[in-house]
Amino acid sequence: MRQPVHLLPPGLALVTGLVTAAVVLPWLRFVLTIAMAKALAVLGILLLLRAGQVSFGHALYITVSAYTVAFVAQNAWLADIVLLLPTGIAMSAALGLLVGLFVARYRDIFFGMLNLAFSMVFYSLLEKAYHITHGTDGIRVPLPRIAGITLDRVPYEWAIFGIALSLACGAAFVCHRYLRSPAGQALAGIKTRETRLEFAGLSARRVLLLAYVLSAALAGAGGAIIACATRHVTPLLGYWTASGELVFIAILGGAGSVLGPLFGAVAFELVRVYAAAAFANTWQMILGAVLLGIILFAARGLWGIYEDLFARRARA
């Protein structure tokens, strides 16, 4: 049997690396903040992947939360991150429960397609309801306070970066514990043989619903951070390719560990920024090629590569 690889050393290395990078290269701070926000959403995708289900619509929950933050922040009294973050997350989780009650009955392609359908419906509502959402122009988010303190631009960016990083690490830890709990272990049962799960006295629908609501809340956390960091929300956040991106990152990072999404999101955003700068018209092509390479030659993602290296060293 394969020795389990400890999560703490690579996790600490990641945090140290990210903080160092943000200090040394200030322009990376924003990129890494977005990467952590996406990592949060990808953690949610990871939970569903454990059940063998892939959602092509989770950008929906990012968008719901981001727009909630944008709307609430218009009111100067309420524009405080301490309030905005939980509100966004709660909205996403509530919608996740509503949609989840419906989609948890479906599996595989139907599960993916229904999620896609819901996200596209919401996307077009945002786009068309111009008098409320300003359509494709999007909404500006006024600079929120942080626990009652109004910060300048640079300290504010640092604060958001810190919040994003700690939320992502915290969420990774919670997911790690959740996946080891009975409810988390049961997810694997949905993937392998659902009937067996039912015989064991567990409701597959309820197991999946819990994971689904959690994943929606995680995506909501990511969305709230994106809204606070970019300070401008547009319907494009919820386009189906954005949802595809989340699944992409999950595979890139590797679905085997909760640290996979963090590594994956950082790698993805860095490749994207560099590719977009160096090859303005072909960056999507480069991302596609990277995804193909990962699937064909390293199906367990970046985390799998790390595991292999580590396991080899331990044996030697």
Partner: protein, 304 residues
């Protein structure tokens, strides 16, 4: 009011015909290979772009304009025969043993790559080439007390091609040897292989043919709309909805679902434009709520 309804029905019919061409290929490929091909929208878009380029070439060389119809078919054959076969042989053939999620993502990666390929070749400016529509002229359709002037291309040619595809495909699958081999692989790949059927060859054939149909849909659509980046994206999402509504792998069902969603969408275009994009999904969700396996899908017994 009546006039608008008539226009909506005619538009819906023409649109349903286009969507059907893409959806039928998608559902055929899924039925045989169990892969939901996200890149199918790219085949649609590339088919359209290539047809427009061939049309422009024919016009520039002062060749007889009627050749434009040949150009539509030629572009579809090129996309299906060359691009479709290459994709299957070089890429998909390597991943049939992997998880379904990964197979889906391979086609998603391919979609991302092909999107940029389109931009590199044809740029981001809208391209519009409508010789075939002009050639066929217009028809006056009586509708109640009014008459609607509509292009013959959209009224006759598009639905005719879609209907011919449906009938041809059903006959092909039931009556010819190759068609029956495809059905055999669909039903039980292992048993079919044990009988000596070359499943690899069937996969290649099916995928190339599915790509051909999508490209033909794109080629047929190109004279009626301007081609812009993202045209394939919208089409793929809609044909997913058609395929899921119909039930995966159901060819006749795809026609009905395409009509349902296509006409529903164009009624929305005329009467509630803000819901244009939403209506097809609402129909799909409504159908799946009542019949989780789609209109014509059968509940599959899970194999151990």
């Amino acid at each position: 009011m009546d006039l608008l309804l008539g226009l909506a029905l005619l538009d819906g019919l023409a649109y349903a015909a286009q969507v059907f061409m893409v959806a039928v290929g998608l559902t055929l490929i899924f039925g045989v290979m169990r892969v939901l091909n996200v890149a199918h929208g790219s085949f649609f878009a590339i088919g359209g772009y290539l047809a427009a380029s061939i049309g422009v070439f024919i016009a520039a060389q002062k060749l007889p304009p009627a050749l434009a119809f040949g150009g539509l078919v030629l572009s579809a054959a090129l996309v299906g025969g060359i691009l479709g076969s290459l994709v299957e042989a070089l890429l998909l053939a390597r991943i049939y043993a992997k998880e379904q999620v990964l197979q889906l993502l391979v086609t998603f990666a391919l979609f991302m790559i092909l999107e940029d390929v389109q931009k590199l070749i044809w740029g981001v400016q809208p391209i519009f080439e409508d010789t075939p529509v002009k050639l066929l002229g217009t028809v006056d359709v009586p509708f109640g007390d009014d008459t609607i002037t509509y292009t013959a291309y959209q009224l006759f040619l598009l639905p005719a091609v879609a209907a011919a595809t449906l009938v041809g495909l059903v006959l092909f699958l039931r009556r010819t040897l190759t068609g029956r081999l495809i059905v055999a692989v669909t039903l039980d790949r292992e048993a079919a292989t044990a009988m000596g059927i070359d499943a690899q060859k069937i996969y290649l054939l099916t995928f190339a043919f599915g790509a051909f149909l999508a490209a033909l849909g794109g080629a047929l659509a190109s004279p009626t709309t301007a081609l812009v980046p993202g045209v394939g994206t919208n089409m793929i999402v809609l044909s997913f909805a058609v395929v899921a509504t119909a039930g995966l792998g159901k060819i006749e069902g795809a026609m009905l679902a395409a009509l349902l969603l296509g006409i529903g969408r164009s009624i929305a275009v005329y009467f509630a434009p803000e819901f244009e994009v939403v209506v097809p999904y609402l129909i799909m969700v409504a159908v799946l709520l009542v019949r989780p396996q789609g209109l014509f899908g059968v509940v599959e017994t899970r194999r151990v």
